[in-house]
């Protein structure tokens, strides 16, 4: 194991804290005995592959299959699906290009990688759109059959990139994939259209060969998927094998060498790959089980949030029922109705839909009903870029309501982390009788990672404020530690009451326009939010040293920042990574923790929203690093910002 290499366990805070002692006394998070550059030594341990083609080419399917194969081969991995909003955009156009990037290998992987080592381009548009992602020396595999005059024109190309010299810096393999696929599937008697559609498996076979990955998971998938159609099944299997065999011939003639990727030294556990939307669905169901309460998930389809609705609908055997409402407002309202009736209402959307739900969130705050609102953020404003990721709905979650209407906000940092974040959101909602925002984003929802299965028996049960059966009492009697009222619901004979959005009397719950009462109700709502922090763990460092630069972030930038800070530490910078799960309220110790650093850097995929919250709540003067191009940060960009603002620790040591 190289020095500077700590653990391969993915990053539930808790699991991490157990393994690695974190110190605030300027002691490094891990030993940095050498100045080894992680990129140099680990280059062979990690690979970045990008598949690109038309949105109808099955690119995302290839990516998912490659991901499974990689996981079963024992590699750690992180993926980035990057696709257009159009379902099947006109073929061969630049705007119709769909891509899937994966970083995998025998190392700890937290990002999909900055620059692909291998680009697979199914057509000229996919090639030119993705060229800017590549560094010189990268391998490019294209379908040579696709570089016809007509298709070049579709891609707005005046000359053929295979011939005009613009690929000189790369290793290019133009393979007649379409012809070779047709030949491979010929014995299975498909029509021309179906035959052509097998080429994604041909290419997958080749790429699996390139990295010595197993074909078995894909074979199993094809057998399941085409169980009802023998010729489709056999043709796709034949294409997969033919692509694989083609790789072997390329090795023989010396044009391509197979790479053997070592297994990642994973900690002992059972692992699976999981996307953010899957883990979030599981987390919500798990929270319901921990609270012994049924969930009503009420939603209206919107990209990129719809996959949560789909996954939860597939989990209806586990104490959840989904309801597709007529609009975003009805979705949140029916969820609130379910919570009023004693089930836990959950709703989900993306920014524009959350905007529509806003008035109803005020009702949930006023009536003190539990509710979880999931926001899978996307680029805005308005419709913005539905399939591109952004972190620009933080203001909306923290501040975006009429009146003084506090709502707790938690954020997930990675696909697997949505599991624990969902449980935390439900815990807060039920403990304090309040709506809770759970922020995730398009990147987390669609990306996947390798996840060590959690030990579910170790999760604490979630208490609710539901009254004991047959009891009677006052609905607005509060728990002084949480400000939760009694969660009485229709059917509870001892608690018949009326509630509404009009200001209510603090004791009786009846309508009250009394001046002093409104003051005390407003104070109470603020106190409820503040008391959420009483149950939150202290903020810790993900890694790094005290005293120099604190990189403070939230959400899906986790993996990139983790890698950038790790690299910077190895190079001797005095830097630490602080990643927030709780944003409203902030962890009680955060203010004090940040005073122990010279500077604070806040990288965000927005124009500086967490930076604003930190200034607002803690009077911290943060340095901002912002990007809003619809893509995750590159590790290199975050590292450059760290280098610009962090002191060199080694120099300090030398001076001392």
């Amino acid at each position: 194991m190289p020095a500077g290499f700590v653990t391969y366990i993915h990053m539930q805070n808790r699991a991490f804290a157990e393994r690695v002692p974190i110190s605030y006394n300027s002691r490094p998070f891990f030993l940095c005995g050498t100045t080894m550059s992680t990129t140099a030594t680990q280059a062979a341990r990690r690979h970045v592959v990008r598949f690109a083609g038309d949105s109808g080419d099955g690119i995302q399917l290839q990516g998912a299959q490659f991901t499974n194969a990689s996981a079963l081969a024992g590699h750690d991995l992180a993926t980035l699906p990057d696709f257009p909003a159009e379902i099947r955009a006109p073929q061969g156009t630049r705007y119709g290009v769909s891509a899937f990037q994966i970083q995998f290998g025998g190392d700890r992987i937290t990002t999909p990688g900055d620059a692909p080592e291998v680009l697979i381009a199914f057509n000229p548009a996919a090639l030119v759109v993705n060229l800017p992602h590549l560094e010189p020396g990268a391998t490019i595999i294209v379908d040579g059959n696709a570089f016809t005059a007509q298709r070049l024109k579709r891609a707005d190309l005046d000359s053929n990139p295979l011939e005009d010299g613009r690929l000189d810096a790369f290793r290019v393999h133009a393979i007649d994939v379409s012809d070779l696929t047709l030949e491979a599937v010929k014995p299975h008697g498909l029509g021309a259209k179906d035959s052509g559609r097998c080429k994604n498996f041909w290419v997958l076979g080749l790429v699996l060969w390139m990295f010595d990955q197993p074909r078995e998971p894909t074979r199993r998938w094809i057998n399941r998927r085409f169980a009802g159609d023998e010729s489709l099944r056999d043709a796709n299997l034949a294409a997969l094998d033919a692509g694989h065999a083609y790789g072997e011939t390329m090795e023989i003639d010396g044009t391509l060498a197979q790479k053997h990727v070592p297994e990642a030294p994973l900690a002992a556990a059972e692992y699976r790959t999981i996307t953010g939307a899957e883990a979030l669905a599981l987390g919500l169901v798990a929270a319901g089980e921990l609270a012994d309460i049924e969930l009503m998930f009420c939603s209206y389809p919107i990209t990129p949030a719809s996959s949560l609705l789909h996954h939860l609908t597939g989990l209806e055997e586990a104490g959840v029922a989904t309801f597709q409402a007529e609009d975003e407002i009805a979705a949140v309202c029916s969820a609130i109705g379910a919570s009023f009736a004693g089930k836990l209402g959950v709703t989900s959307s993306s920014g524009p839909g959350v905007a529509l739900k806003t008035e109803a969130l005020g009702l949930a705050v006023a009536t003190e009903l539990p509710l979880v609102v999931v926001n899978s953020q996307r680029a805005g404003p308005s419709t913005g870029m539905p399939t591109k990721t952004e972190q620009s709905d933080l203001y909306q979650a923290v501040y975006g309501r009429n009146g003084d209407t506090p709502i707790p906000v938690v954020a997930a940092r990675s696909p697997a982390d949505t599991f624990d974040t969902a449980i935390e959101a439900v815990r807060i909602a039920l403990r304090h009788m309040t709506p809770v925002f759970l922020l995730t984003d398009g990147y987390i929802a669609n990306a996947s990672e390798l996840w060590p299965l959690p030990d579910f028996d170790s999760y604490a049960a979630i208490d609710t404020a539901r009254p004991a059966p047959g009891s009677q009492g006052a609905v607005f009697e509060r728990n002084p530690a949480t400000q939760a009222r009694v969660w009485a619901a229709p059917g509870d004979a001892g608690y018949i009451h009326r509630v509404g959005g009009i200001e209510k009397d603090a004791q009786s719950g009846n309508i009250s326009y009394d001046a002093a009462n409104h003051q005390s109700m407003t104070d109470l709502r603020a106190k409820k939010l503040a008391q959420v922090a009483d149950y939150m763990p202290d903020q810790t460092l993900e890694q790094g040293v005290m005293g120099g630069l604190a990189v403070v972030a939230w959400g899906s930038t986790y993996g990139t920042i983790y890698q950038a800070v790790k690299d910077a530490l190895a190079e001797g910078y005095s830097v630490a990574h602080i990643h927030l799960r709780h944003i409203n309220p902030l962890p009680s110790n955060l203010g004090e923790l940040l005073t122990e650093f010279e500077a604070v850097l806040v990288p965000e995929l927005n124009t500086g929203q967490l930076a604003t919250v930190l200034r607002d709540r803690l009077l911290v003067d943060a340095i901002q690093l912002n990007q809003v191009n619809g893509q995750p940060f590159a590790v290199a960009d975050v590292k450059a910002a760290i280098a610009a603002h962090a002191p060199r620790r080694m120099q300090e040591v030398n001076r001392g």
Partner: protein, 330 residues
């Protein structure tokens, strides 16, 4: 449980409607209906939106939820899907239900959620001080339409019929004889019951229904629809509705005149949506249709929903976690 009287369904809250408001009469009918049906206060829920009508839940001794403008049908749908055992009532008005909340009303009705929806129609916005509403007749002068409104109004019962309602009734606010029975008929209906109540706003649209409901006009201006009975009306019970097959429309005729006999009068069939269509459209000089205009059987959404989505926890999370491509590195 001891038998409850109408009084037992009143709360200790002071009723805050204007003196003389039609809502008082409707509230009284609601209390009476609940007592007559023996409603269990713990399992009855009144959900309302915003507006004068929507204050009603505060005055009914059951569970109540005064929500936000226009959204009562959506919230009530959530309540009913979460617990189909509950009797769920929705109280709304012409502004709340047909303007800001028209979409939710549409979808609650077309899904046929088992809700008893009472729409108080006074053809005006009361709580915002008298602006014209989506049911105001053309020419309604109001603070926001001093020269008279120019919007084409919508008829609530026609709207409900267009949404596929399985129960449509109409009644006047002060009709204490008919209203409790109509409310209970709606409550008993499986699916969405839509009850339009012609309500008098004493401050902003006083006597707007006089042409239909005043003592002087009522007998001739209303026809009470009773399933299986001929559609006869008039002080002397000598007028009736006859179907003109040539124009496919209803016409008012007098029995004994021009050779008209009772056999010529259309017999009400509440299950026939074509008859309902003709009845809800009737306006002066034809009488306004009252009572249960339309009622037919269709499975309620909440029943179908819960048959499929039981909310039972049959699979545990520990098993769900392992559903995937597993890599065992223990």
């Amino acid at each position: 449980m001891a038998e409850l009287t109408a009084k037992d369904y009143a709360t200790d809250q002071e009723v805050r409607w204007c003196p003389g408001c039609g809502d008082y009469s409707i509230l009284k009918a609601v209390h009476r209906a609940l007592a007559e049906s023996g409603a269990d206060p713990a399992n009855t829920v009144f959900v309302s939106g915003i507006g004068c009508s929507s204050r009603l839940p505060y005055y009914v001794e059951t569970y109540g939820f005064h929500t936000i403008h226009g959204r009562a049908p959506a919230i009530a749908t959530g309540v009913k899907l979460a617990n189909p055992e509950l009797d769920v009532w929705v109280v709304t008005g012409d502004g709340d239900g047909l303007s800001i909340g028209g979409n939710h009303l549409l979808h609650a009705i077309r899904r046929n959620v088992d809700l008893n929806i009472l729409l108080f129609n006074n053809e005006i916005y009361g709580l915002t001080k008298g602006q014209y509403s989506p049911t105001s007749r053309i020419g309604t002068a109001s603070p926001s339409s001093p020269g008279g409104s120019i919007d084409q109004p919508i008829d609530p019962a026609q709207f409900a019929l267009g949404c596929g309602a399985t129960f449509i009734a109409r009644c006047v606010d002060i009709d204490q004889k008919a209203l409790p029975g109509i409310l209970n008929a709606g409550q008993a209906h499986e699916g969405t019951a839509f009850v339009e109540i012609l309500q008098n706003c004493i401050v902003y649209n006083k006597d707007v229904w006089d042409d239909v409901s005043s003592k002087k006009t009522a007998a001739d201006a209303q026809v009470l629809c009773e399933h299986g009975a001929p559609l006869i009306f008039g002080k002397a019970r000598d007028k009736g509705l006859r179907l003109n097959p040539r124009t496919l429309s209803l016409e008012a005729v007098t029995i004994g005149e021009d050779g008209v006999t009772e056999a010529d009068i259309l017999v009400h069939d509440e299950t026939n949506p074509m008859i309902a269509e003709l009845l809800v459209r009737m306006r002066d000089p034809l009488p306004t249709a009252m009572g249960v205009i339309h009622r037919r059987t269709q499975p309620a959404f909440d029943q179908a929903y819960r048959a499929r989505k039981t909310l039972e926890r049959k699979t545990r999370v520990k098993d769900l976690l392992r559903r995937g491509n597993l890599l065992d590195r223990r």
